[in-house]
């Protein structure tokens, strides 16, 4: 992977820098507010921003997808985000999971564990906010949210390596 340098920007956030093979400096400033700036450095003055584009969270995500976002999803896989007691987790549904093959309604995920399924990712395609009739399939990646205990419960159901004696 290209070498990235992180530089903290007190009061603003952080800047991620890289130099491309064609010797151009490119950086992303990640503001605490969620705003992102895409910065391209000049050739003549390497420290001055030749162009700086402000991106909202949404726009940044769109741009990331255009530039090959699936790689980012892979890397996020391992990441757990803890915000105010809320946990978001990416879990791959094991073929042995008791929930594989069931619709969301049949699985009764919410009542059984307290966690919700935000989205299912199948073959690189996302099914956002799946409905009661959507089927959970083995090898799907489920994006789940809830308090840590609920997320742990649901993760155990999805991760199951053999038939589970859960009721």
């Amino acid at each position: 992977m290209t070498e990235l340098t992180e530089t903290p920007m007190p009061g603003l956030g952080a800047r991620w820098d890289m130099v491309t093979r064609s010797r151009r400096g490119v950086a992303v400033i990640s503001h605490q507010t969620g705003r992102r700036d895409l910065v391209i450095y000049g050739q003549e003055d390497p420290d001055a921003a030749a162009a700086s584009v402000e991106l909202t969270t949404d726009e940044a995500q769109t741009l990331a997808e255009l530039l090959g976002g699936s790689r980012i999803v892979e890397r996020l896989d391992a990441l757990a985000h803890q915000l105010h007691g809320l946990l978001i987790e990416w879990v791959t549904v094991s073929p042995a999971s008791p929930l594989a093959g069931q619709t969301l309604a049949d699985s009764q995920v919410r009542t059984r564990t307290g966690a919700s399924i935000l989205a299912l990712i199948r073959d690189g395609e996302a099914i956002p906010s799946p409905g009661a009739d959507d089927v959970i399939m083995a090898a799907d990646t489920a994006v789940i949210v809830g308090d840590p205990a609920a997320v742990t419960k649901l993760t155990a159901l999805f991760d199951a390596t053999g038939p589970l004696s859960s009721k």
Partner: protein, 415 residues
């Protein structure tokens, strides 16, 4: 000082008070509008507005002076609270560890000229040390606004500038309580003890902010903007008042409340408090101007101008040096140095403490800040053309070649 409410409720006077306050605030609106039009910070204009009235000015302000005095106090607290809200506690601690050398250079180069001038003028050493504080601290407000206005937030040298500003703010957290307790006076031993207690309390408070900041933030946060505003404002005033009581300076208390708050409480709080800050900060600058006798200014104008020139150069050297450490090329170094020239709100906060001790400090600081708050942004804007001047072009040429990209700056984590 006259209690505001009773002045207002005494019938006939209420109209007078409102008229006076309204005239002052409208006057500030006019000067702020002019400053904006010509692309300058309104701070020097607020100061000039204050100088025109009050002590030695055109007219005394009657009923409004009580409000202005309390308003000025609140203005300082809100400025420091907002500054603290910009930072998270971990950020401060991390920066302190990493950027101590640059911070040291900054302190030595920019504190010394003020201190030296104060001593040369035969002032009390404490008053001289306050002038050192006035020349040391750049205006984070003016600098941050400049970087945004000139589209330099993305520039490579910008983190260097921001880091220096953070270190200065942290130095203030120690400096203000020490000065405040020295002002309190007493015997030598008593002074040593109060200074130690003040410095210790500042450090303990900072560590408490690091430790319990998150809990405080979730406790304070509320979805209702009314509740959030009142909680934030109330907590800040209480902490500031307590800090003042133990000679820690209300400003430092407010700053640390800001540092302790993070997350939603901080971001929503910033938006809520900004209008209040703008109002009361303006009142603060007017109040400072009111206390200074403008007839003293002609005597100190030359001194202030000379001090401004010297400390503009020392700031440029500081920024140049720090940016060079970060692998920034010549033009970026000059941009970093010139961005730091502007002095403003905190110089005045420090000067406020010492006006009683040395009347000359007020006039000198006001003139000095008026010079540099105007000169600084202009020099920064012109820094690229200045770097291209024949005499300047040779400086710093030797090390960094202009055409090669520098190794990405600052020693940080790699992946």
């Amino acid at each position: 000082m006259q209690p505001v409410l009773s002045a207002a409720s005494s019938g006939a006077d209420a109209g007078g008070l409102l008229l006076e306050l309204g005239a002052i605030i409208l006057g500030l609106a006019v000067v702020a509008r002019i400053a904006r039009r010509i692309g300058l910070t309104p701070i020097p204009f607020y100061l000039i507005g204050g100088l025109a009235f009050g002590t030695g000015g055109l007219a005394d302000l009657g009923a409004a002076e009580g409000f202005i005095e309390v308003g000025a106090e609140i203005g300082v607290i809100l400025m420091l609270l907002m500054l603290g809200l910009e930072y998270s506690a971990e950020e401060l601690v991390r920066n302190l560890r990493r950027s101590a050398p640059a911070g040291g250079v900054d302190l030595v180069l920019n504190f010394a000229p003020g201190l030296a001038l104060g001593l040369l003028l035969g002032w009390d050493p404490l008053a001289a040390a306050m002038l050192g504080g006035v020349t040391y601290i750049s205006s984070s407000g003016v600098v941050a606004k400049l970087l945004a206005d000139l589209n330099r937030v993305g520039n490579r040298e910008t983190p260097t500038v921001l880091t220096l500003l953070v270190i200065e703010d942290l130095v203030m957290v120690l400096y203000l309580p020490i000065v405040a307790s020295l002002l309190f006076g007493g015997s030598a031993t008593a002074t040593v003890i109060t200074v130690a207690v003040a410095a210790g309390a500042a450090i303990v408070l900072l560590l408490t902010a690091v430790r319990y900041g998150e809990r405080l933030s979730s406790l304070v946060f509320s979805g209702s903007s009314e509740v959030l505003l009142l909680s934030l404002f109330g907590i800040t005033l209480v902490v500031a008042g307590l800090a003042e009581r133990i000679q820690l300076s209300a400003a430092v208390g407010a700053f640390l409340v800001g540092v302790a708050l993070s997350g939603e409480a901080a971001s929503a709080g910033r938006a809520l408090l900004l209008p209040l800050r703008n109002l009361f900060a303006a009142v603060f600058f007017v109040f400072f101007g009111l206390q200074v006798d403008p007839s003293l200014i002609p005597d100190v104008a030359l001194l202030a101008g000379g001090l401004a020139l010297v400390t503009a150069v020392t700031k440029v050297v500081t920024g140049w040096w720090a940016a060079k450490q970060a692998g920034i090329a010549r033009r970026g170094r000059l941009r970093a140095g010139s961005a730091l020239i502007a002095r403003g709100e905190f110089s005045i906060v420090i000067a406020t403490l010492g006006v009683g001790l040395e009347p000359g400090l007020g006039a000198l600081s006001a003139t000095y800040v008026i010079f540099l708050a105007i000169l600084g942004p202009i020099v920064t804007r012109l820094s690229d053309p200045i770097a291209a001047l024949p005499g300047i072009r040779r400086i710093g040429r030797d090390r960094v070649s202009e055409t090669s990209l520098p190794v990405p700056s600052l020693p940080t984590s790699h992946r």
